[in-house]
Symmetry: C2
């Protein structure tokens, strides 16, 4: 996630949504000139955040929508016993905070994984603008639905009983998403620790570590700390569907 982030950052310096590289992925897509200006005034660009910084906390009443411009973050809920469940990782172009529109405010916490810049859109302002700009309302619904659909990936992955399948599904998804924002889909630099990844996958850290090793042995992946190279996408796809492979 790091190699081209400086390029994205250059664009991020510009203030206008119209100039943003993520324009087509983001709220402003398919919104005309004047309306876009209205939106621009609502969107606040926040200074770059560092690893560990909190974007919003569970329970925060003044909810806002965030668009990741560069970097990445995780969302999680804190369970009564104290430990957490990571719900998702979000890279550039992705939305975070849709859980916060209800009366109860945000229901999960968003924490930055690396140096990250985001655009912040307070909900109150957003819905005001949406009321005036019919296209934006439509677009908002579409985007919410898209994120809703993305959320479905998590339970689908967790539904797999084989740990290998879970990791393979995750890697394929991440690869595709990185490809979607112009990265090499075969070169993945993880921004999360093994611990965070294990938590997301519903596994323990040792299992994840072993899975990476096994994938490397199988020739599917080249693993160097947090840098991964997908050597055999077809094999990875096989693992995603069925951990039990016939290659021996």
């Amino acid at each position: 996630m790091g190699s081209v982030s400086n390029i994205v950052n250059l664009r991020a310096l510009r203030q206008s949504c119209a100039d943003c590289a993520l324009n087509q992925l983001c709220l402003p897509a398919s919104i005309g000139g004047n309306d876009l200006d209205r939106l621009d005034h609502v969107v606040k660009q926040r200074p770059a955040l560092e690893r560990g910084d909190i974007l919003f906390h569970e329970g925060l009443k003044q909810p806002a929508l965030y668009i990741v411009r560069a970097g990445s973050l995780k969302t999680y809920v804190t369970l009564p016993e104290g430990d957490v469940q990571i719900l998702g990782f979000h890279i550039a172009g992705e939305l975070v905070g849709l859980d916060g529109l209800s009366e109860e405010g945000h229901r999960c916490t968003a924490e930055v994984l690396e140096r990250t810049t985001v655009c912040e859109v307070p909900f109150e302002s957003l819905s005001e603008v949406a009321a005036k700009v019919p296209g934006l309302q439509q677009q908002l619904f579409r985007i919410m639905s898209r994120e809703f659909s993305r959320e479905l990936e998590h339970p689908v992955m967790m539904g797999r009983k084989q740990a290998m399948s879970r990791l393979a599904i995750f890697l394929r998804s991440l690869s595709a998403r990185l490809g979607g924002i112009g990265h090499d889909p075969l070169e993945i630099t993880l921004s999360m620790s093994r611990q965070e990844l294990a938590n997301y996958l519903g596994l323990v850290i040792e299992t994840v570590s072993r899975l990476f090793s096994r994938m490397q042995t199988l020739g599917v992946l080249r693993v160097d700390r947090r840098t991964l190279r997908i050597l055999d996408p077809a094999a990875l796809a096989m693992l995603a569907e069925k951990a039990d492979d016939e290659s021996g």
Copy 2:
């Protein structure tokens, strides 16, 4: 889910949202008289569906929102290998179909589990009305967010490594939701098979069966086929947090 469904059905016979028992849970909440009439014209009430009937299929382009008036249904995605992952069960008062607002249409399939009545709101009409009625737009966002938050429950449950915790979490959630629509929260009549429940929990059917037996042995539950009686809510809560209980 069956015992009071006839009462709900009585109300369901009335056509108007204003008279609906689910009013407060549903779209019309906090919308005034005239606006409510406008909404009424958009909401189609469908004839009762039977077990196995499909509300909408993955890929269906003319998306609609559905509100369950009585009965229950499941949503699932079909995986490339052919088997399915159940994403959720939905009882009276709950919304289904929020995944379908994007360009790709519905991303999951909704199938009825028992005799069920629903209100159908084609998304196109809905967003037209929402553009005219500011309160409705707000309400829509809130409802979408609420459903979004509800979706978070699934991965949190799946994140638990102990099967007993998963089932306990599910039962507590279902109990609370049944309580919310006026049922006895301690008396649960499951509308899904063991197979469907196992799939949802990410387990195999035998494990679920054994868990029910064990819960009964522990005195937490009384199990009679699909009818459950929660005998010890506190113990159930314990199991939800930590399967490993000190009671022996």
